[in-house]
């Protein structure tokens, strides 16, 4: 029986539970200096002077550097359609554009000495007008880069058409804010670097060591051989940890310049202003159709917040557009977008990256449409879902969905949640007229995984002792790759999982790699391991066939003994150890290097239902139930998949109910501690009800898609729709996220007026 699809416990956990992890800050580095950044206290200003003299003389200080000292070029995003003219200097040069932007770096013998000295750096600011609002930014009155004459960093080249809604009986409009949120990984950003013998070694809390190495190389003008990047345990990234932040580059530059090891770990408050934020869209949505429930046209116009310097966030609307049709067979769908800069922290990828924004827009629009025509939201969805026999399905925005069964997902969900029963209970509450009303929210979603082109490397070798080593270019940080990859290799080779060593996260030990993001790992990195195992097995079969003068096609693996033999005659065989020894003798070790190229992106889907209780007197929302059908193709390990769904759902619910990065009118961050920023906790969440569903993709041999982000994409809109649904009978049509008590109460009051 195959081990695939079974609940294998995480092989990573015994070490975490008994010894603890080993993060960048735990890496011993004798004689290391500590870096503390002096950050801008003003959102937008000309830098008149940065006086570091007193700080340089402070006890324990080795040096203090500013933009004038550091010859690392300004960093521009390498992204399609995004301008490269708004490049970000690694230390602010001439102008600061957000609170928290690094202005100087203090290097000292201890963190405490560096923190003390940082206070002595005197920065003279000449304040400039601040722009925070997206629509104001788009008017190009206050400019962050005056020489460019515009704040627009990206514009999607898809102009709206005039007649999109012609013939629609009903057209509903919505204006939705998909607020800025903070990724908030448990481990903040951390980097250590050492220069020795003409080589740079960087320990980085990154999701992509090879990408970090490339960034370091380019920024510092080094060759590939000169840079090694090691990602030790990484305490969460959620998309925002690429290890190429300006701080990372400055740390590496300092190590080389000073020829001493240098390390930096940011504080939580620095993390909340320095690490990229997620989301940040203002969406104008129009949906039109007929009173029988058919949706004929949908348009989403996106204004995306880039923050001060365009980074990956600027590109997110592209992903939003790809998913703009959602799960519905809507004949006409358009999505336009502009990304604009503001005097805030840059935005970047965060769990879902562009797709939760699409799902939120589409799912809110469908609910608005349902309310307008007086039809049950489940029924409107039923009427419009892409039918199950339509795959591969090409949407009006040109996206090709590989496989799916959206009606199946919705029906499973409604049954698992007892939708009819919930509606009856809701009706009773409404009749009762009490303060606590029930809301039922639905979302049916589809998303794109492995959406960014690029393959992945895996190497597999069977050693002469019969054990195997797998080298993988993906770089895990909590997902459980080591468990899943060992399962894949073991399933092909019959070598027990505990005899398969996993090597990740070190550019010296793994020859190439792309990394872990965009829910790509299993379908690309896992497939690479699988294919490497296939190649090795094939070689082993041929070797054995040669030894026994049999037909390679007749050679089978016996997982119970770890031996290969000719089918039907178990005695005629060899162990992996024997075969590896034989192969080695011939000078052709049992090894394979595979660069797997996926056929394309895959499209996981699902349906979520949220049940909330809303206190109409206080605006308090309690999430009572969250039922989720998530279909990510074939599931290799349900335990790992459920873990991904749990975390994702929590973050989706968090965006819907609690989390929001806020600035005051002057651009000062007011959510820069966890006392102010509403990171969700277990106490705010019910036990999730997870319903399994597996519709394999035809695009890879394992039939697998990605599941890392599904929870976030599905749960957010379901919870938001539930809040609105609870108040629908009181006249509320929309509540922006997060649905805080204040917002809910204000919406109720406005509806009552």
């Amino acid at each position: 029986m195959s081990i695939l699809g079974t609940r294998v416990l995480r092989t990573e956990d015994p070490r975490f539970l008994t010894q603890g992890g080993r993060y960048v800050d735990d890496v011993p580095l004798e004689g290391a200096l500590h870096v503390v950044f002096v950050r801008s206290a003003v959102a937008h200003a000309r830098l008149l002077s940065v006086d570091v003299e007193e700080a340089r003389r402070a006890p324990g200080v080795v040096t203090v550097v500013t933009a004038a000292d550091v010859d690392v070029p300004a960093q521009a995003p390498e992204l399609p359609m995004v301008t490269t003219e708004m490049a970000r200097p690694v230390l602010a040069a001439g102008t600061v554009r957000f609170v928290g932007e690094p202005v100087a770096a203090v290097v000292a013998e201890s963190v405490a000495a560096a923190v003390d000295a940082a206070e002595l750096v005197a920065v003279d600011y000449d304040p400039l007008p601040v722009v925070l609002d997206l629509e104001e930014s788009a008017r190009d009155e206050v400019l962050l880069f005056p020489e460019l004459g515009t704040n627009v960093a990206m514009r999607l080249p898809f102009p709206p058409s005039e007649d999109l809604f012609d013939g629609c009986e009903v057209v509903v409009r919505g204006r939705f804010r998909n607020q800025r949120v903070a990724p908030g990984p448990m481990e903040p950003r951390a980097t250590a670097a050492r220069w020795s013998d003409g080589r740079l070694t960087v320990w980085s809390s990154t999701q992509q060591p090879h990408g970090t190495a490339a960034g370091m190389r380019e920024a510092l003008g080094l060759s590939a051989e000169q840079v090694r990047v090691i990602a030790p345990d990484v305490g969460g990234g959620f998309g925002a940890k690429d290890g190429k932040y300006p701080e990372d580059l400055v740390v590496a530059w300092l190590a080389r310049r000073l020829e001493r090891p240098v390390r930096w770990r940011e504080t939580r408050s620095e993390n909340l202003v320095g690490m990229g934020h997620g989301r940040g869209q203002l969406q104008e949505v129009r949906v039109g159709g007929s009173r029988d429930g058919r949706i004929a046209a949908l348009r989403i116009d996106v204004l995306q917040d880039c923050g001060a310097y365009p980074s990956l966030g600027a590109f997110l609307p592209f992903l939003t557009r790809i998913m703009a049709a959602g799960v519905y067979a809507i004949p006409r769908v358009e999505c336009t977008a502009r990304s604009v800069v503001t005097n805030t922290t840059s935005t970047t990828a965060y769990r879902g990256a562009g797709r939760p924004e699409a799902a939120a827009a589409v799912e809110r629009a469908v609910d608005l449409f349902a309310t307008e025509i007086g039809m049950d939201p489940a029924e409107v969805r039923r009427v419009n879902l892409v039918p199950r026999d339509a795959f591969p399905y090409t949407t009006p925005v040109g996206t090709v969905y590989d496989s799916g069964d959206y009606p199946g997902a919705l029906e499973r969900l409604l049954e698992a949640a007892d939708y009819a029963g919930l509606r009856a209970e809701q009706a009773r509450r409404r009749e009762g007229g009490g303060a606590r009303q029930l809301g039922i929210g639905l979302s049916v979603y589809v998303e794109i995984t492995n959406g960014v082109p690029g393959g992945e490397y895996a190497g597999l070798e069977v050693r002469v002792d019969g054990s195997a080593v797998v080298r993988s270019g993906t770089s895990p940080h909590g997902q459980g790759h080591a468990t899943a990859w060992a399962m894949l290799a073991s399933d092909r080779l019959g070598i027990p999982m505990e005899r398969i060593e996993m090597v990740f996260n070190d550019t010296d030990l793994v020859r190439s790699g792309v990394g872990t993001f965009g829910s790509r790992s299993l379908q690309v990195g896992g497939m690479a391991v699988d294919q490497a195992a296939v190649v090795v097995l094939d070689r082993a079969r041929r070797l054995l066939a040669e030894l026994l003068e049999a037909d390679p096609a007749d050679v089978v693996v016996d997982a119970s003994t770890g031996r290969l033999h000719v089918a039907g005659s178990p005695a005629a065989g060899r162990s992996w150890a024997e075969l590896a020894a034989f192969a080695a003798e011939r000078g052709e070790p049992l090894a394979a290097d595979v660069d797997f190229q996926p056929q394309g992106a895959t499209f996981p889907f699902g349906a979520h239902l949220a049940l909330v209780e809303v206190d109409t007197e206080t605006g308090a929302v309690v999430l009572r139930r969250l039922v989720a059908v998530d279909d990510a193709g074939r599931i290799v390990n349900p335990l790992l998949a459920e873990g991904q769904r749990h975390g994702g759902i929590a973050q989706g619910a968090a965006q819907a109910l609690l989390e929001e990065v806020l600035y005051d009118a002057d651009g000062n961050p007011v959510t820069s501690t966890f006392a102010d920023y509403g990171m969700i906790t277990a106490a705010e969440l019910p036990s999730f009800e997870l319903v399994p569903m597996e519709t394999p993709t035809p695009l890879n041999e394992l039939g697998v898609k990605g599941i890392g982000e599904s929870g976030t994409i599905g749960a957010g809109p379901a919870v938001q729709n539930a809040v609105v649904d609870a108040l629908a009978h009181l006249g509320v049509r929309h509540v922006d996220m997060p649905a805080t008590p204040q917002r809910v109460w204000t919406a109720l009051r406005e509806a009552r007026r």
Binding site: V111, A112, V115, D116, E119, T267, R268, S269, E617, T618, G619, A620, L658, L662, V670, T671, T673, A675, D676, G678, I680, T681, A683, E684, T740, P741, Q742, W745, T746
Partner: protein
Amino acid sequence: MIPAAFEYRRAASVDEAVALLAEGGEDAKLLAGGHSLLPLMKLRLARPSLLVDIDRAAGMRHIDERDGTLAIGALARHQDLATSDLLRARCPLLAHAASLVGDPQVRHRGTAGGSVAHADPASDLCAVLRCLDARMVVQGPAGRRTVAAADFFVGFLESALGADEVLVEILVPVPAAGHGWSYQKFTRRAIDWAIVGVAAVVEPSPEGIARAAVGLVNMGPTPLRAAAVEAALRGAPRTAVAAAAASAPEGTEPAADIHADAEFRAQLATVLTRRALEEALSRC
């Protein structure tokens, strides 16, 4: 997150703490559980030159009853209050409110005295003690004095404590037998401070309500009493609760912050006061 440099001394007794404070002058500060002071120091919003650590000072962690008065040592932890059989029996409101402070770590470190001395209007204990007509026993170079809660909280994070004084003990008159009580803490997340909180104690009479006391959390720069509500309920029937609660915001000056504007806080005060009184009555 590293505080500016400071001197550190540990006091073994209240007397020693008072002496060390006097020596240290203006910039000396007492350290109890550290859960309000240390975060401020780490953000460098507070920079005491000397910390006088009283955390191990003798004789300040008791919870007793003397002649109808509960005496709570300043160093009693929130957790001590929450789990005290004496408090649970004689003043359940106080035990319950303490059980809602922050999270388990905070409750095991943070002290009742530190909460009171810090005088945060968002603190749970301050408004509850105000509602219970507590008195604070304070010791300074000139000896001991007792300050009523009504006079103790003077302004935002400002109390009647002198820079050279130590809060030694909190005295709480045991509420009348048969009283009902409630604490309504309205938070964003379970671990958060109150956006608004309402504490209520009701003494019933055969006709309805003999007397009600209502304390308000985070409705102004100091913990407050809802005087208008209390006046409206003196000798009133139980049915008077809803109308009386509507005057909870009277005389308050709630701040606006990222969680709530002043108007919403007023709404919360009204609703929570009504719910607190109803729950208190249900317990009579």
